[in-house]
Amino acid sequence: MATMVTSTRPPAIKKDAGAGPGFPGPNGNGSKRGGSFRDPESHANRYRIGMWVALASVTMMFTSLSSAYIVRANSANDWVSLPMPRVLIISTILILASSVTLELARRKLRRSLTSAYTQWVVITVMLGVAFLATQLFAWRQLKAWGLYMSSNPHSSFFYLLTGAHAVHLAGGLIGLSFLWLRSRSVTSESAVLTKQASADAVTIYWHFMDALWIYLFLLLFLWR
């Protein structure tokens, strides 16, 4: 099927880079299906690509807030470092655990173990909700110490960064709920591929939120 032309010309984009259909170029004698069909695998791949692209923009937003944090910390001498609410250590453990459980879920799906997959997804959702609860608890603790949004620049950034992260994490919870709702077993090839691709996309996002929290935690309490 592959013609001479195919072998003399490198694909436009490597397929395993997850970045495109990687059609090898002109292939006129190829599939008699013409162009009426898309390769279901590369078609499902758009969820993964879309997620990486979306994360690039999330990265830029947190980069802008981080640079504001660093500039503001050095622009005047009104910076008062916050004491760390201890509960944040628990929240960090929770979100790390949730990444592990979601990864387990994804691997179960790879082996088509639907009920185990669903269970791990549900556990991840619960860990995610627990994380948000501990974050809320940390806010209440700061409030109890009399530290509000406008108290000093560090507290402003604390509320802002944890809040922005929580909003993004809540988006991840919506994604997980979507996986949960769609977790019944499917048979058609394209549906299986789509399901795996969307599970992968949500997992990528969730791991990213996990790493983002670790980064924010270090920025807020260890950066000097």
Partner: protein, 627 residues
């Protein structure tokens, strides 16, 4: 993400009117919706520029209609300076965001990117619909700013939302330009007319717009990477697709930064934080912290806002112009009946412009007190953008060289784009040098520069695109006769408006002033000011021809075939207008580069990308299809 089970027919053609034309997930309908949004927004922006010209040339004249509409902003029909300044702000904001960002990318990009790469729709159609509706909400919010600040009773009602929402100050929005510099923009109502509800709604509108653009950019990038049809390698894509793709990358990476800055600004305004507000401010007779309406602020950095804003703001000007460059390359090649000269160089130039665009934001801040060493770095990087820009211009001229041009209206506007891009770009070399900018900044020279290069040039790109693709979108031609009159009036008009701006700027005329009546040293430019105003009125009137042409031709235009311009790319390979899934169930296979005109040995003077029979080398030096 709920539309995704089968291969090609992921969503059947809708039948009800609402699903077909209002809440449509079809990229073609969404593209037209974006264009309609831009056509509506540009009217608001143009009326504002008209009002500004009236005030500059005939200061003190009473315009009764203004008094009826804005009794506080124009008492006796005469504009207050605050009213004028809010016009400046809203003109800039609406034009940059809702015209120059929506029509080229959301409009034409949405409509033609999927067709040109041989896809049946965008990668995420529902997300695509959402991005349009989010953008529309952003537009409604910015219009609200006009009403809330301009109308006492609506302003009073809004004040119920909280102290920072007090409106009705008699302006049409905030005062402070489209850049919204802190601390003026961060203080709230205390800072003066328009800084209450108007500014809040302005920030909220921009934030909503950011979200809409991000959703769109995500979709464009994924579609282009994932949905190209068989044989559509990257180097066989039309330059329009490269331009839309690069624009999407710029939007994806720059809008989040503005969104972050906008959130900080909104918190400064409503939550009492001090990200951008320095300590010890004394505003409107009050010291920071001495009054409940003016809480204590310490230590914020106004320059931080400028950095965040311009980190977005500079890529934004490329977001506006790159799609115009793509369309121009495409149209020049089609009507010169020649391949684009140096296709690869064009692709790399687009990328280079996009990349460099991220490292030059400091040239907007030469006078902010930044280190002279930073200025030198920003200056050198800025001037280096001249290199890819010159490559593009050279290649456009190379494409035209020795050709027998078909002077359609689309071609005229594409040529106009090249002219305006050069005229506007050349002054960038002046302003990009920090030493010269010290003298030129905040003068009409700057206004002339960016209006020519990012405003009018982009608009010319869109005019060219409209005349070129209209037959594909609606199956009918636009009137060439009206189109030609429209072109010449507009082309001469914009030069008559913006060339005198340079002179005014060099003579020391500062921008954003509502009146120059008190400045003796500017008396000798008064005739120029009058000339500009008359030219502006004629040019704006000429746009009525365009609107007339668009809406008349939609229903009464001469019928167009599938490929009326004898062009080569995939959109001309389907019916006009294209069916719901673009290619009636069978995706095309691509065998040729995008611009194979005048190929020696070919049966016609053009080879379509899908022509399987033509035994010709493809445009990029590869051996083409062999049986």
């Amino acid at each position: 993400m709920s539309e995704s089970h089968e291969g090609v027919h992921r969503h059947p053609a809708p039948t009800s009117f609402i699903r077909k034309y209002i809440f449509s997930v079809d990229h073609k309908v969404i593209g037209i919706q974006y264009i309609m949004l831009a056509l509506a927004a540009v009217v608001v922006g143009m009326v504002m520029s008209l009002l500004m010209r009236l005030n500059l040339s005939w200061p003190g004249t009473s315009w009764p209609i203004l008094e009826t509409l804005f009794p506080t902003g124009a008492p006796g029909g005469i504009m207050t300076p605050e009213f004028y300044l809010s016009l400046v702000t809203m003109h800039g904001t609406i034009m940059v965001f809702f015209v120059l960002t929506t029509a080229p990318q959301g409009g034409f990009g949405n409509y033609f990117l999927p067709i040109q790469i041989g896809a049946e729709d965008m990668a995420f159609p529902v997300l695509n619909m959402l991005s349009f509706w989010v953008t529309l909400v952003g537009f409604i919010v910015i219009l609200l700013a006009i009403v809330v600040e301009g109308n006492q009773s609506i302003g009073a009602w809004f004040a119920g939302l909280g102290p920072s929402f007090a409106g009705g100050s008699g302006t049409v929005g905030p005062i402070g330009g489209w850049t919204g510099y802190a601390p003026l923009s961060a203080l709230g109502k205390i800072a003066g007319p328009g800084q209450g509800a108007g500014m809040n709604l302005w920030v909220i509108s921009i934030a909503i717009f950011c979200v809409g653009s991000l959703l769109g950019a995500l979709n464009f990038i994924t579609t282009l990477l994932n949905m190209r049809t068989k044989g559509m390698s990257l180097m066989r894509m039309p330059l329009t697709c490269w331009a839309w793709f690069t624009t999407a990358v710029l939007a994806l990476l720059s809008f989040p930064v503005l969104l972050g800055g906008g959130i900080l600004l909104l918190l400064d305004r409503t939550a009492g934080t001090s990200f951008f507000i320095p300590g010890g401010l004394y505003v409107s007779g009050l010291l920071s912290g001495s009054h409940p309406n003016f809480p204590l602020h310490t230590g914020g950095s106004p320059i931080l806002w400028q950095h965040l804003f311009w980190f977005f703001g500079h890529p934004e000007v490329y977001i506006a112009i790159l799609p115009g460059m793509g369309a121009t390359s495409h149209i020049l090649s089609t009507f010169a009946r020649k391949p684009v000269f140096g296709y690869r160089a064009m692709v790399f130039a687009i990328f280079a412009i996009g990349l460099l665009g991220f490292f030059v934001w400091g040239h907007h801040m030469f006078i902010s007190g930044m280190s002279p060493y930073s200025s030198i770095a920003f200056s050198i990087l800025t001037l280096s953008i001249g290199v890819p820009s010159a490559v593009k211009t050279f290649n456009w001229l190379g494409t035209l060289w020795g050709s027998r041009i078909r002077f359609t209206t689309a071609m005229l506007f594409a040529l106009g784009f090249v002219s305006l891009f050069v005229s506007g770009g050349i002054t960038g070399l002046v302003l990009g040098q920090s030493s010269l900018d010290l003298a030129m900044h905040d003068s009409y020279f700057v206004t002339a520069h960016f209006h020519l290069v990012m405003g009018v040039a982009s608009i010319f790109g869109m005019f060219a695109a409209t005349y070129f693709w209209f037959p594909k979108m609606f199956g009918r031609f636009m009137s060439e006769r009206i189109g030609r009159i429209h072109f010449w009036l507009t082309f001469i008009g914009v030069y008559a408006i913006f060339v005198p701006f340079h002179t005014m700027g060099i003579r020391g005329m500062p921008r954003r002033f509502s009146s120059f009546a008190e400045y003796e040293f500017l008396r000798n430019v008064d005739p120029l000011v009058l000339l500009v105003s008359i030219a502006a009125i004629i040019t704006i009137a000429a746009q009525l021809l365009f609107y007339y042409n668009v809406f008349l031709s939609m229903f009464k235009g001469e019928k167009a075939g599938d490929n009326p311009w004898e062009a080569t790319t995939l959109e001309w390979n389907t019916s006009s207008p294209p069916p719901h899934d673009n290619f009636a169930g069978v995706l095309p296979t691509v065998y040729h580069g995008p611009y194979e005109f005048a190929v020696p040995g070919a049966p016609k003077d053009y080879v379509m990308q899908t022509d399987i029979e033509a035994e010709v080398p493809d445009g990029n030096g590869h051996n083409g299809h062999k049986h």
